[in-house]
């Protein structure tokens, strides 16, 4: 196997070493846990709505939650303002940015009230723009968002905007030319971008060994002159720490960072996929042991932060919240066709 000489830049972090531990008070951690429970409950509900024929398509974030949420929370905490270019598997990313379960379900059910595209796009695709936090997801075409993120960061630099840009994608995405070209550009100009690869080891059915000749995607970062960090993406605190560091690096003007978060994809690729064709029951069992929600719960219980009672309460509240959201989203209207031709060009 060929290994780049700069592999030393690739660092492996353990949940144990927490430079930012002081912000992670028991209350904060409990809040995170409840939100992760909420996202899981919402994700399961969305899957059910698909099986009932109400939601056309879903890409679940089950197994990716710790990375998606830890990354957004850290980036929001350590940047003056943030622009995120996520990929399609980003329900947990969306909720961490403040999208409500009702808004998410409006989007999933393609209703007029979908905050990202008013039902024009797949769930959560489009743009949600606020002054401090922008979430831009133009398409579900793999890796196209990488150059978008880099160009956005270039624009920020040109205009003196201190925003940090973050983009998320899978391991498969790192095969695309767009990915390499975007990384290269960010490396040359030391742009303030945080690249987060949510590596679940497969791209639909294609295993990582058929995707690249290396074990750690992060090794690719060296070729673009930026640090590549490997983190256990099922450990929300570890993700929070490395992303926090990467964002502060970007703020200090030290350039981009590539983070490879090793995660698990607990469900099929999308609601259209049947992973029994290419994954064994043993593999799936193995992955369930790395379920980020389960791991976080065990950790918090060991630390005496979470009790069985608090856990039950979190689940009960999540279910009630998602029930209310489902009811509201199901009752909401579909878009009408009155503005079908709007926004092809700037209007006169």
């Amino acid at each position: 196997m060929v290994r780049s000489r700069n592999t030393a830049a690739t660092q492996t972090r353990k949940a144990a070493e927490h430079a930012v531990a002081e912000v992670l008070t028991p209350d904060v951690l409990l809040g995170w846990y409840s939100t992760m429970v909420l996202v899981r409950t919402l994700d399961e509900r969305a899957w059910l709505l698909n099986r009932q024929g109400k939601a056309a398509i879903l890409a679940s974030s089950q197994g990716h939650e710790a990375t998606q949420m830890g990354a957004v929370w850290a980036a929001v905490r350590y940047s003056p303002s943030l622009a995120i270019f996520p990929f399609y598997r980003g329900l947990a990313t969306a909720i961490a940015t403040g999208i409500t379960p009702t808004e998410a379900l409006l989007s999933i059910l393609a209703k007029a009230g979908d905050p990202a595209s008013g039902g024009r796009q797949f769930p959560l695709h489009g743009a949600v723009m606020t002054p401090k936090l922008k979430v831009i997801n133009i398409s579900n075409v793999v890796a196209t968002q990488i150059p978008h993120a880099v160009g956005y960061a270039l624009g920020c630099r040109m205009s003196g905007d201190p925003t940090v840009t973050m983009t998320t994608f899978g391991d498969g995405a790192t095969s695309e030319g767009d990915w390499h070209e975007g990384m290269n550009y960010a490396g040359i100009y030391k742009l303030p971008v945080v690249f987060i690869c949510e590596n679940n080891g497969v791209a639909i059915s294609v295993p990582q060994r058929k995707q690249m000749a290396i074990v750690n995607v992060a090794d690719r970062a060296a070729g673009y002159g930026m640090p590549g960090v490997v983190v256990d993406g099922t450990d929300v605190m570890a993700v929070y720490e490395v992303v926090g560091e990467a964002v502060r690096r970007a703020v200090r003007g030290e350039g981009p960072t590539f983070i490879e978060a090793k995660v698990v994809r607990l469900l099929p690729h999308t609601s259209d996929d049947d992973d029994r064709r290419y994954r064994t029951p043993e593999e799936l069992e193995d992955m369930k042991r790395r379920d980020p929600l389960k791991k976080f719960k065990e950790h918090l219980m060991e630390q005496g932060i979470l009790t069985a009672q608090l856990d039950e309460q979190a689940h009960k509240e999540a279910k009630e919240h998602v029930d209310r959201a489902t009811e509201a989203a199901e009752a909401a209207p579909f878009p009408d066709t009155g503005d079908f031709y709007d926004h092809v060009y700037a209007s006169e």
């Binding site: 024009r120 797949f122 890796a143 294609v206």
Partner: protein, 327 residues
């Protein structure tokens, strides 16, 4: 004869050609164990092994470019682009390069490759799983572009595409995959590329289309039949090269034309077909050449009412036919 679906016909064509010619191989995303996301290649890796059914990295430019390289070396690659919407990174290799190899080497090299891709909407696929990009490719000399509508045509034309000495982009309408079933002969057959087919004979209007829309045109033709208008449905089957003679012959017979495609209107195949008719059969026309097409918005939206608004359907086509009939 057995009744088969379009997807079964596509799979059989590849299976038979791989059995017949050891130079034929498949490459694409998820074509191996997964059998392709639409199961077009199901069972092929089990039959032919990983060397001839290659799960590629997620990189369309390389799928097309590596297929092109192997084709110049004498292999017969079938490159699968998972959805037509993802073909754009490969356009440089297909339009920019493959189409120009024979011309640019004065015939020293050529590219016997097939690029297969599922296209089209009506599947709740939204902006990025519904596109119909055939016109971009049909514009390019050096490429052949096939858009079959039935299992019989899909099988016979895909076999022809695999045997063709030039690059063929083979568009399979994903909505037809399981929806459209039809008889497919048990014995071997190959259909010629570049030959249209009359799917319904008629004398009053020529309705010209390809892909899924052919079926909607046939439904619309039945509606018009009840109103006493006898519609001929001409299935182009190949959109480059166009079967000019078949188009002109039908128009000379009926003197009225409706062209239907799902792709948006401006610069679509309908424009080329209309220009051919205007240039070569103008004197035969009794009514303006008319089009029913997808609207000129950048792509098909996701939400059901928006998608339905975009898609041509039998009712919209019937309305178009009535306009042409009553002119």
């Amino acid at each position: 004869m057995a009744v088969k679906s379009v997807i079964e016909a596509v799979r059989e064509a590849m299976f038979e050609e791989m059995k017949r010619d050891p130079n034929v191989f498949i490459m694409g995303e998820d074509v191996g164990k997964r059998g392709g996301v639409f199961l077009a290649t199901r069972g092929l890796i089990e039959e032919f092994g990983e060397e001839r059914v290659i799960d590629t990295p997620l990189a369309e430019s390389s799928i097309a470019g590596i297929a092109l390289g192997a084709a110049m070396q004498g292999r017969r690659p079938i490159a699968e682009i998972q959805f037509a919407d993802f073909i754009w990174p490969a356009v440089n290799q297909i339009i920019g390069e493959a189409a120009r190899v024979r011309y640019g080497t004065k015939g020293v090299l050529h590219v016997p490759m097939v690029v297969r891709c599922p296209y089209g909407g009506g599947v709740r696929g939204g902006l990025f799983h519904s596109q119909s990009p055939e016109a971009y490719f049909a514009h390019t000399p050096g490429l052949k572009v096939v858009c079959p509508s039935t299992p019989y045509d899909a099988k016979g034309l895909l076999k022809a595409a695999i045997r063709d000495e030039d690059p063929v982009v083979f568009f399979e309408h994903k909505r037809t995959y399981r929806l459209v079933r039809g008889e497919v002969p048990d014995e071997e057959y190959v259909l010629p590329i570049g030959v249209a087919d009359i799917k319904r004979a008629g004398s009053d209007i020529t309705c010209i289309s390809y892909g899924l829309m052919v079926h909607y045109c046939l439904e619309a033709a039945e509606m018009l039949a009840k109103e006493g208008v006898n519609v001929e449905v001409l299935d182009l089957r190949t959109v480059r090269p166009l079967d000019k003679e078949a188009i002109l012959e039908s128009v000379r017979k009926t003197s009225r034309v409706l062209i239907v495609h799902e792709d948006n209107r401006t610069g679509g195949l309908g424009a080329e077909v209309a220009a051919i008719i205007a240039e070569e059969a103008f004197g035969h026309l009794d009514a303006p050449i008319t089009r029913v097409t997808g609207p000129d918005v950048p792509a098909m939206p996701f939400s059901p009412p928006l998608e339905d608004f975009f898609m041509p359907n039998p009712e919209k086509i019937a309305a178009g036919l009535r306009r042409v009939a009553s002119y």
